[in-house]
Symmetry: C2
Subunit: 468 residues, 2 copies
Amino acid sequence: MSHHHKKDLSCFFEPQAIAIIGSFREGFFGGHVIIKSLMGAGYKGRIYPVNPAYRKARGLKVYASIKDVPEHVDFAMILINARSVAKVVEECAEKGVRAIVVVSDGFAERDREGARLQDELVKIARARGVRIIGPNTAGVVNTSNGFNPCPYEAGYYKLREGPVAICAQTGMINPQAFPYPVLGFGVSKICDFGNKCDLNECDMLEYLENDPHTHVISMYLESIHDGQSFLKISKRVTPQKPFLVVKSGATKEGAMATFSHTGAMAIDDKVFQAVCNQAGILRLDNFEELFKMPKIFASQSLPSGNQVGIMSFTGGIAALAIDEAARHRLRLAEFTLETAGMLEDIFPGLGRMPVDMGPMMAALKDAFDQYPRILEIVLGDPNIHALFSVLWASPKREILGRYIEAYELVKERFDKPVATWIYGPDPQLIAELRSQIEEMGFPVFEEPETCIKAIGLAVKYARIREKR
Amino acid sequence: MSHHHKKDLSCFFEPQAIAIIGSFREGFFGGHVIIKSLMGAGYKGRIYPVNPAYRKARGLKVYASIKDVPEHVDFAMILINARSVAKVVEECAEKGVRAIVVVSDGFAERDREGARLQDELVKIARARGVRIIGPNTAGVVNTSNGFNPCPYEAGYYKLREGPVAICAQTGMINPQAFPYPVLGFGVSKICDFGNKCDLNECDMLEYLENDPHTHVISMYLESIHDGQSFLKISKRVTPQKPFLVVKSGATKEGAMATFSHTGAMAIDDKVFQAVCNQAGILRLDNFEELFKMPKIFASQSLPSGNQVGIMSFTGGIAALAIDEAARHRLRLAEFTLETAGMLEDIFPGLGRMPVDMGPMMAALKDAFDQYPRILEIVLGDPNIHALFSVLWASPKREILGRYIEAYELVKERFDKPVATWIYGPDPQLIAELRSQIEEMGFPVFEEPETCIKAIGLAVKYARIREKR
């Protein structure tokens, strides 16, 4: 028997010795890039390139066959022609490899012949106790050990460690496709399921459930392999970790496209929605939210109720935010008389929700000096469970300093989620302020509506957790 | 009688001599900033600062009263305490000023006393034939003559000229609040209506209808002053110029907030939707779309039908795009046999829609050299009325060059709208490629769904235009 349990996916994320089987020519794709990425990310395991046509690849000896590798290999990544994959999987199994990522395409997503080749892989894998991710995948990343075998050139290799696992049936989540350096939160694991011939979302969910590095799970799905298992496992996971899902195939046309992309049958969208409701899954609306929405859970505490405060420099955005809040069943918080009084003492009209600092800003030369105190008073109100904070990134840098000061104070004193939107005339200043605020653990979103929606998700998740 | 017709708003956008009445202390708000902005934007008219407490402001003589200004003044901008505004409006009228922007707040949006002060303004304006924008506004911009009297520091002053007018009941559209330098298209006029005590969306629509610099109108509304007029004028405008509207107050809660922001009563959302349908207004869903969606109309021709092609490097995004296309009543285009044959000759599997260049990219070292030819073949297919183009901003710069080459070719040869989404590992590279593509007149959007939605709007507008 294998020395790993069939359910244990640790070989995919913590291998000690790996084989890369494919081409090693220079370019933006292939084994050459994988070695570069692993070395750049600081992976400490042994790397064995395999290809009979090469002798060296990025300074490493290349072996003609996996059989020639002089030690035990845990994990293999295969990037050869679809027709040759089965034979190599067989050889890997022979060698004792227990986890294989098949990057190659041309399987069930291509045509009938590809589907047949894929079935063959599955048979071998089942017979030999080997687990496969893919085929047609960009693979996995584990940030905690520098295991980033990205087969496409990303230009950066080390990813920031953090609590969020991102999984998808597409390589659009792998480092070459998304700018992780500016994500604003850290990532634990990345996994592109590809065609899901063997390992699927249920396996991954169970692995992440027990992964101490993962506290939030964000997943893009085109299909569900086994609805009953998915429901059962999700129910178990959601009281422990927020589980966010984007699903394509919501329309008939999308479902057809999904079929031709990974060969998977999409499930009926209404059924999927029912599964989400029953299992406490937070369903997202579009692809970008896969990266945006985990932010509200990455380092913020959960709100203790649905009353949201709004602080802005403009009534216009506040009105839009209130519309959005109503859509997400949030209530606009009302100040206690005490809070209102304190704010009115600072500037007339300030004690009303939504707090509009615009008039004060225009009237008082030192309006921004008061900002930290105002924020403190607002968040100190027991009626406020979460805050939507709008910041104007003024070209006057001293104002930005006031914001930072205020947020530092909030970080020390309060345990309420704050979602921030920054607007202003200079994208560079916005980016700087955003990065400083996110460093402190406060999520910044790119649209006002997204802030409200994120708070809505946090409130929803807090309720899900309470119920279970 | 005044030398301008009451309906003529040209004094607001093309004044020859202006007065600025308010404080001139240094800071991020006030008359001081207005002068700086006008000079920075290259405004050629005369500027008369007015304030009894100053002698000089940014090198200009300051007059104690508007009465002391030695020549005729077309336009005045007022930034003084709400209680003193009426008197100054009276003096302006006396002086022959016909267009006044009241920046000051503390009117109907504040309280009853403010509402009374606002009524007083309106009475004076009506009696004296003076038009007022505001109060509680950040004012106007005209890019064609450098008339940018922005009262808040933006850090930049000259805006790129272009076909899109942006209007709102909030200063969130004025230069200090939005990074116009990276907008990706040029702007003709900006107007913040503020409380709309006199000039409203109908006046502005009529002005923009006849403004030769404006070809697209994008407007954020919290309320409609006169539904019947709005419907009538919109019906006249929409066959000439696309008219895009974001409206808040869609929920009961939002409507209440709107009331306290500008003192305006919001109209029922269902009624507003009916007005949009009848008048051919393109309704948008959120605030960001006010800036994003005009892009598809700014320099692209209208699609001749609803069949959309998709070209990407990943099936995952294509599946999501097809979902979104179905929501916007777009059809996924099918290639003619001829096109399919030509594409299959380049790489097997390439002749199917959605076009997925992923497998080709992984298989061929020179895959990107073929990109211009593939794009040309795809757009040459008569079944394709518009294209959703997904580009991978690879860290290999030569690939970006291929994209540019391809888009140049498309610009010369085709008259079909192309909406582009760029993804990749490096935000800087994405921004560079985006800016190069937008320079050529092709809109780039920040989310795949937005590309499809923009194409959907273009198809919808093409139909609106056909019908009238």
